[in-house]
């Protein structure tokens, strides 16, 4: 017998499900249409200052591939995403391990740690801008220790200062996911490890890490994608100056300062491709790790 619900709950009409989803789909179309338009415009010389718009094929893309600025921007964006993942996922894991321990007041700490995540990124960036300012508190403390003030957001390493803000803001994101992962793990393997006298390091590397893999991949996925698209933190701090011109900023300036919409959208199509490919890769390894965690062989679809 077919199950009543889920599979074919008797509805008044075959079209009803579509009808209910329709408003949401219309809104979706309202978003997809501009996106398709973006793809098309990237093949034109659309410029807000010029009345005509010509189809120029792949010329925008070829121009980008030949421009040093594009490669610098792409390299910085990839570097930034790699740094974000390399710092935030391990740090998030460390914090999750701490927050997983059963201590009194741990709930209080869990709440405190998550607070930065609730803030608007732009506002978080401004807070750090206040702290990192030339005459800000950090430089003041350094000068007390006999150091010269450092222009944290105006030197060759400004991207690292932005990384610091990113770490402050989004490490809790990884912590929340990994803590949920730790809490979902079965207790028995850990107890038998303990009985057998396995070292903490052995338990961690042979048991905790493999079992957490789906959660680690998920944290990596979200952080990688959001940092490839980073805009807010840079706009609020350096505005792309001092080697922080990430791809989304480049596209923003191409379009809203130089009005070269076609070229800006070529930037964005390439970023979209990078995001799409990396998310495909990560989603695939995530579902593989989920299948392994569920005890099924990896090859099974």
């Amino acid at each position: 017998m077919r199950p009543l619900l889920s599979l074919g709950m008797r509805t008044e009409s075959r079209w009803l499900p579509y009808l209910i989803v329709l408003p949401a789909l219309l809104l979706t179309a309202g978003i997809l249409y501009p996106f398709a338009l973006a793809g098309y415009y990237s093949l034109t010389d659309y410029n807000l200052l010029s009345p005509v718009r010509n189809f120029i094929g792949l010329r925008n893309y070829l121009d980008l591939l030949r421009s040093g600025e594009f490669w610098r921007s792409l390299g910085l964006t990839l570097l930034y995403a790699a740094l974000v993942v390399a710092v935030e996922v391990p740090l998030g894991l460390g914090l999750a391990l701490l927050l997983h321990l059963e201590i009194r007041s741990i709930r209080f700490f869990r709440f405190l740690f998550i607070l930065p995540l609730m803030m608007p990124p732009v506002v978080a960036a401004l807070m750090w801008k206040i702290i990192l300012a030339e005459n800000g508190i950090l430089n003041l403390l350094l000068s007390r220790a006999g150091w010269d003030p450092v222009p944290w957001l105006a030197n060759a390493f400004s991207l690292l200062s932005i990384l610091l803000i990113d770490v402050w803001l989004f490490t809790p994101f990884c912590t929340v996911i990994l803590l949920a992962g730790l809490q979902s793990l079965p207790k028995e393997p850990f107890e038998s490890c303990q009985v057998d006298g396995a070292s903490a390091w052995f338990t961690f590397t042979q048991l905790t890490l493999p079992m957490l893999k789906p959660f680690l991949i998920l944290a990596t996925l979200f952080r990688a994608i959001d940092s490839l698209k980073m805009f807010d933190l840079v706009y609020a701090t350096t505005k792309g100056a001092h080697s922080t011109m990430l791809l989304q900023l480049n596209a923003y300036y191409e379009s809203f300062r130089w009005y070269r919409m076609g070229r800006a959208l070529a930037y964005m199509m390439i970023l979209w491709l990078v995001v799409y490919l990396s998310s495909r890769l990560l989603v695939r390894s995530w579902s593989r790790s989920m299948r392994i965690a569920a005890g099924k062989p990896a090859g099974e679809a």
Partner: protein
């Protein structure tokens, strides 16, 4: 207790101090910027720029007074944004976007959770894919369209474009909650002769109410925190609070105190709301991929 276990316990309590130290250290790192800027918002300009800042200072409301319009003074001085207006804009856009997303997204989520029809997974995935789209790629054509349609710098336009953030959240998280209801309840209602819509509104919806409520709160926070849509698709009249906080930086100077006060006002709603969603947070952040 066997000796190995005892050793484990001793080891653990020996570590306890270290653990607490780590926890407090990170808590300090997480809280310091918030506390420092919060304190700064109550400092006078002289105290802020003083080269020897004091922990003890005479608190003043002058920064808050400066950014909130005083009733007796008529229209605000030109050249600066009315921060209170931008705060109101944030509320309008965020609540409008949330209401629209709930109205169209929750029924869609139920359909995607419970009915089977062709193309279901594709439709569901479509909503998810918005989460991964680079914002500027969508904003540029939307900007061009809105200029043509007269939606640029309007609340309606911003509410529509905010769906990019709010709709995937609502659809995916609500779908997860609907999938968790035991099917027997709905089947029983069906045998009692309820129509599908009746089951949705009278049986399923009341059961997932807490989940939907926390979804709404989280969606509100995400929409509130957005910056780039307002920056490009809005102007002075419709800028949300997040954009207004940048208005205190000009070419010549930064109004540190006023910026701090604006910052505090902008983070208050999300911080206050975050108390209510601790339990549902992980699900919301991962669009239902992790059901903590």
């Amino acid at each position: 207790m066997n000796p190995k276990r005892k050793r484990f316990h001793r080891l653990f309590s020996g570590r306890k101090a270290g653990v607490l130290l780590g926890l407090c250290g990170y808590a300090l790192f997480a809280l310091f910027p918030i506390l420092w800027v919060g304190m700064m918002s109550f400092k006078s300009h002289r105290d802020i720029v003083s080269p020897t800042p004091e922990i003890l200072f005479r608190p003043t409301l002058e920064n808050y007074r400066a950014i909130l319009p005083r009733s007796q003074e008529g229209p605000h001085e030109t050249g600066r944004m009315d921060f209170l207006q931008c705060f109101r804009n944030s509320l309008r856009i965020t609540l409008g976007a949330l209401a629209l997303s709930l109205a169209v997204g929750v029924p869609a989520a139920y359909v995607l959770a419970r009915l089977s029809f062709r193309g279901k997974e594709d439709i569901a995935f479509l909503f998810l894919s918005f989460r991964f789209a680079p914002e500027i790629a969508v904003i540029i054509p939307v900007y061009l369209l809105f200029k043509e349609l007269g939606l640029y710098n309007t609340y309606l336009g911003l509410i529509l474009v905010y769906q990019l953030i709010t709709l995937p959240l609502v659809v995916w998280i609500a779908r997860g909650y609907f999938e968790e209801i035991s099917k027997e309840v709905e089947q029983a209602a069906q045998l009692d002769g309820y129509s599908w819509w009746g089951i949705f509104t009278r049986v399923a919806l009341p059961l997932v109410k807490p989940g939907i409520a926390s979804t709404a709160v989280l969606t509100f926070i995400f929409a509130w925190n957005n910056f780039v849509f307002g920056l490009i698709l809005g102007a002075r009249e419709t800028f949300p609070g997040t954009v207004a906080t940048l208005g205190f930086i000009s070419y010549e100077s930064v109004l540190w105190g006023q910026m701090a006060a604006a910052t505090v006002i902008t983070i208050l709603p999300p911080l206050a709301l975050s108390i209510f969603i601790q339990k549902h947070l992980v699900r919301g952040l991962t669009l239902g991929a992790v059901r903590g």
